[in-house]
């Protein structure tokens, strides 16, 4: 893709979005550098998912503009894939059918699609589950299918909305490691939404903190200077990690308390 050489994968300029009088985000300007791993954190209900949906082209901003590799975004973002927080697999398709879906929509050669899906099934560790339906799989396995489903179409940008929040701690750590490995061997740009600051720091090059909603905006952007490849199991005790955590938490803490106050009053 020639446009991928552009230095900025996603650029928000003065973006606002309201839903029937409720302003979710306002005045958001943000750059996601091409090939980087960026996380967005903030108190719950601060419009993190709204930003992601805007980058995906699923939600139109009421104000401001979004550019993808320098091109204004109109309609669905064709350069991006999206991993949702909820289960988004088609329950009536098998693991194989779900993974080949994106290729099928792009009218790829069916035999090649199946072949490519086979390698992905192996890669995400689902050998032997090819013909299973989603309801026959565990939550972690369904996430693996979703991972293969989004990465198989080889998108330049991967958007992830708290994809692992429903998993238990150990499965989650495992999946985070797999995502990092996948990303490291690619040139893809990742925009990752989470409310877990530790997860955000451990995975990302940059962490963006959003203010408490409504009308949330960017409070700060922090570089994470931890070297790669990272060992997700030990990284949380690394002194540098702790320093970064402290400095981001100072800002995030206030926003969380604000959102807590508003929640109490409401």
């Amino acid at each position: 893709m020639t446009t991928s050489s552009h230095a900025t994968a996603v650029r928000f300029t003065g973006v606002a979005r309201s839903f029937r009088g409720y302003t979710a985000v306002r005045g958001v300007s943000l750059e996601v550098k091409s090939g980087s791993f960026l996380s967005v954190v903030g108190p719950s209900g601060c419009g993190k998912s709204t930003l992601l949906n805007i980058a995906a082209g699923l939600t139109k901003p009421t104000e401001g503009a979004v550019e993808i590799f320098g091109q204004p975004l109109n309609g669905i973002n064709r350069k991006a894939a999206y991993m949702f927080q909820q289960d988004a697999l088609l329950p009536w398709k098998t693991v194989l059918g779900n993974i080949t879906l994106g290729l099928e929509f792009r009218a790829a050669d069916p035999r090649q699609a199946v072949q490519s899906a086979q390698t992905w099934i192996h890669r995400v560790g689902l050998d032997g589950f090819r013909d299973h339906y989603p309801h026959q799989l565990s939550g972690g396995m369904r996430k693996r299918v979703a991972m293969a489903q989004t990465w198989i179409v080889d998108p330049a940008i991967v958007l992830m909305d708290e994809p692992f929040s429903a998993l238990d701690v150990h499965t989650r750590l495992l999946m985070e490691g797999e995502i990092l490995a996948l990303w490291a061997e690619s040139t893809k740009t990742v925009m990752f939404v989470t409310h877990d600051l530790e997860e955000a720091i451990a995975l990302s090059d940059e962490v963006v903190v959003l203010s408490a909603g409504p009308a949330s905006h960017v409070v700060g952007v922090y570089k994470v200077g931890l070297k790669r490849p990272r060992n997700l199991i030990d990284i949380k005790t690394d002194p540098l990690f702790v320093d970064i955590y402290r400095s981001i938490w100072r800002d995030l803490r206030e926003e969380v308390l604000k959102s807590y106050d508003r929640g109490e009053k409401a």
Binding site: A56, A80, D87, A88, L89, L90, K93, T150
Partner: protein, 256 residues
């Protein structure tokens, strides 16, 4: 379970038989199972019933096909078009509120004594059941699944084929169980009210000469047909909805 189900039927039939033999149930009004079974056997063996049965089945099949096709089509179009759905909403309610029996004489005038007046009556019943279920089914598709498919590059047509139709299928199937039964009921009522062929005609003839055994025999044959067709739909459903967790299907029997 099947054993218990058969046992219950047998107990009821025996009680009926015993009641009739003991004189508790007047044979003139209630007939008796032995006679009914003998009559059914006789109707089947002499071949007297086949012509009538095939007419009824043809009418039911036609009204089912036309009703389901129209219901699914309208359901889809209205579910995808907010304006049309709102515009037509009161008229659909009015049309659905009409008791179908009052339409029978009008259809007789319009379409004559042949099969088409019965088919028309059947369609008015099947259409609404399938329409409402399809409409609901398409509307209740999980928006996350739709978003996911769109992000993966689905065009509007692919979205309908891979997401909306399979998702609506559960609803459509639950309506098929009901609408097959109703299609048969409707055409039999149509035959009963005016025709020269069909099971409904047989029943009305038997009733005309106070032949209770004949009425019950007609009902027994209908019941057999409905059970058989229902079993076929069950198998088709089990195949097409094989992706569903098995326990989810248990509520269905209560509706049908």
């Amino acid at each position: 379970m099947l054993v218990w189900q058969i046992l219950l039927g047998a107990v009821l039939l025996l009680a009926w038989e015993a009641g009739a033999s003991a004189g508790l149930l007047d044979k003139f009004f209630f007939s008796r199972p032995g006679d009914v079974i003998a009559r059914v056997w006789q109707m089947l063996a002499t071949g007297a019933v086949w012509g009538h049965l095939s007419t009824t089945l043809l009418e039911a099949a036609l009204s089912f096909l036309i009703g389901v096709t129209a219901g699914v089509l309208f359901g889809f179009v209205l579910a995808r078009n907010e304006f049309l759905a709102n515009l037509l909403d009161p008229y659909i309610r009015i049309a659905n509120a009409l008791p179908r029996v009052v339409l029978a004489p009008i259809f007789l005038l319009w379409f004559g004594l042949g099969i088409w007046s019965k088919v028309a009556l059947g369609v008015t019943v099947v259409f609404f059941i399938v329409f409402f279920n399809t409409f609901q089914g398409v509307r209740e598709v999980d928006p996350v699944i739709v978003d996911n498919a769109r992000m993966l590059g689905a065009s509007e047509r692919q979205l309908i084929r891979h997401v909306l139709i399979p998702s609506a299928l559960t609803w459509i199937f639950s309506s098929l169980h009901i609408s097959i039964g109703f299609a048969i009921i409707a055409v039999v009522v149509g035959e009963y009210l005016g025709s020269s062929r069909g099971i409904g005609y047989l029943i009305s003839q038997a009733e005309g000469v106070f032949d209770t055994t004949g009425v019950f025999a007609g009902m027994a044959i209908l019941a057999g047909v409905v059970l058989g067709v229902g079993a076929l739909v069950d198998r088709l459903e089990r195949y097409l909805l094989r992706w569903k967790a098995r326990d989810a299907g248990s509520a269905k029997g209560a509706v049908a």
